[in-house]
Amino acid sequence: MIRTLPNSKRYSFTYGTFIICYFVFLFAPLFVTCVLAFNNSDFPSLPWYGFSLDWFVASGPERVGIFHDSQNLRAIFTSFQTAFWVAIFSTIVGTCAAFLFEQETFPFKNLLYFLMLAPLVIPGVILGISLLLAANTAGTFVENRFGIDVALFRPSFWLVVMGQFSFITTFVALVVSARLRKFDHALEEAAMNLGATRLEVIWYITLKFLRPAIIGAGAVAFLMSFENFNTTLFLVGSQPTLPINLYLQVRDGSTPVINAISLLLIVGTFCLALVNLYFSKEKD
């Protein structure tokens, strides 16, 4: 069964084969997507017509590579912007939440903590529609009452940011809380003995201690936002993010440009993931 116990040859072999099959299952779709990005063909399928970089660099008119595909480039840029703002906001508020629930006492704390965990169990689609409804209600109210049409309340860039922020913040708060629990309070007490105020202690000592966790959580928030589909689907306006834009293309028939974008995404996320893992190893 386990390392220390003897196993029959056949048992070990079967188990090993199963694990290899599992990892093939895990990587096959990614591998095929990457390989077909270089096929010199108009469709993302076999047979293999030879190696080509057309789907990256071709500038038309028959083939438009990703580096000349203005629509997809714009979607990538939108996704970067969205992810940037979501990462900033959710890191700030998530860190506040971590401090609030780990270090402060106030009435209804448990209720509020339960509310903070709620986004973990609310399906993303529901978050999307309820936010769409609420924004619409607020927009109608403001327009009837004050006669102002606020663009923020219609499906738009900032509504997407708010929708993603609403559940990503919970993840940041959980990651930062876990780190905050390991903090040695003697450091805070020493600083206070030496005359620091509570806010000075937080700024100069606790936040310095939390920095690796905050940066890690920010990176994860960035990635989650960049890839989010379910919530974004209902809130997106005239500026589609990359997953939405790709979805529309995949649904209506695909070209190898999507493979090229996927390849860039896979390489990008692998790098970010490895860097993040490296730093989180470092901090332990």
Binding site: I126, N230, V250
Partner: protein
């Protein structure tokens, strides 16, 4: 503690943004969702309170069946994910040589950092009629004409298992890491077989991990839109698609809100039952 760490400024500094976030983006929108689901228009086009949206849900077989179908398929998917994750987790934690352990966990994690859309797209180009698998099957003469492997229930479930695998594997791995090898060795020395060891020692020990994994996987599968839509095609009949159709295609927001609320109710109910059965709290599962 000798020194008071409380300070009103700090409390309000932390409380204000968190309250704004939770009230404005979580509580109010869901209250609005509930109110909206009871809204409608009468014959004169006036806005009235009504139960019509819920009545539609229960009287139209298509909605009702889709709802049940989604729930049952989500449970099946969660169970398959569990069956697949257990041996993989066991291999990584207890069987493989320790120096490969880190690399294997990394390999397990990596694909899930990639966008779900890319992974589903990968499966589409593998499985479709002009896809890679069909190409090889034809080439080796195993089939005469291409088979459409997409757009059926089995493929859809496989896709859902694939996209949510990680959220089952990671909690089980971390639960299994605390299992003492000597328990298994003792059972083995006393003559119990593999099945008994699994059933009496490994499964009970991993129960917390299994519970939190199952809850997360179930919730993700139930609320998934992308995978059923792209891999199940027109036949997928997934409940989130009904919600999407009401909102975006028919523009019937009241009906869509009622559907959304039913889905929220279902997922909360199943999660609650899961927590009760395993006697855990949401807070413990989250961390």
């Amino acid at each position: 503690m000798a020194i008071s760490r409380t300070s009103k400024t700090a409390l309000w500094l932390f409380l204000t943004p968190v309250l704004c976030w939770l009230l404005l983006l979580i509580v109010l929108p869901h209250i609005d969702l509930l109110l909206m689901s009871f809204g409608g228009e009468n014959e004169y086009g006036e806005r009235v309170w009504t139960l019509q949206n819920y009545r539609n849900f229960f009287t139209e077989p298509i909605y009702w069946n889709t709802f049940l179908r989604t729930a049952i398929f989500s449970i099946i998917t969660t169970f398959i994910t569990f069956l697949l994750a257990m041996p993989v987790a066991f291999y990584i934690v207890k069987v493989v040589r320790p120096r490969f352990q880190g690399a294997m966990v990394l390999m397990l994690l990596l694909p899930f950092w990639v966008s779900e859309l890319v992974r589903v797209y990968g499966w589409m180009i593998l499985l479709r009629e002009s896809g890679v698998i069909n190409h090889f099957l034809l080439k080796f003469g195993l089939i005469d004409k291409p088979v459409e492997m997409l757009y059926n229930d089995a493929t859809m479930i496989m896709g859902l298992v694939y996209t949510s695998m990680l959220f089952m594997a990671v909690p089980i791995i971390s639960a299994m890491e605390s299992l003492d090898d000597s328990l298994i060795e003792a059972a083995h020395d006393l003559g119990s077989g593999k099945l008994v060891i699994w059933y009496k020692i490994i499964l009970p020990h991993c129960k917390p991990g299994i519970t939190s994994g199952s809850i997360v996987v179930f919730m993700l599968v139930l609320g998934n839109y992308l995978t059923p839509n792209l891999m199940g095609g027109k036949n997928s009949l997934w409940f989130t698609e009904q919600i999407y159709n009401q909102f975006i295609a028919s523009f019937n927001w009241n009906q869509g809100a009622a559907f959304g609320f039913m889905l929220l109710l279902l997922s909360s109910l199943i999660i609650w039952i899961g927590l009760k059965l395993s006697r855990q709290k949401l807070g413990e599962v989250a961390s």
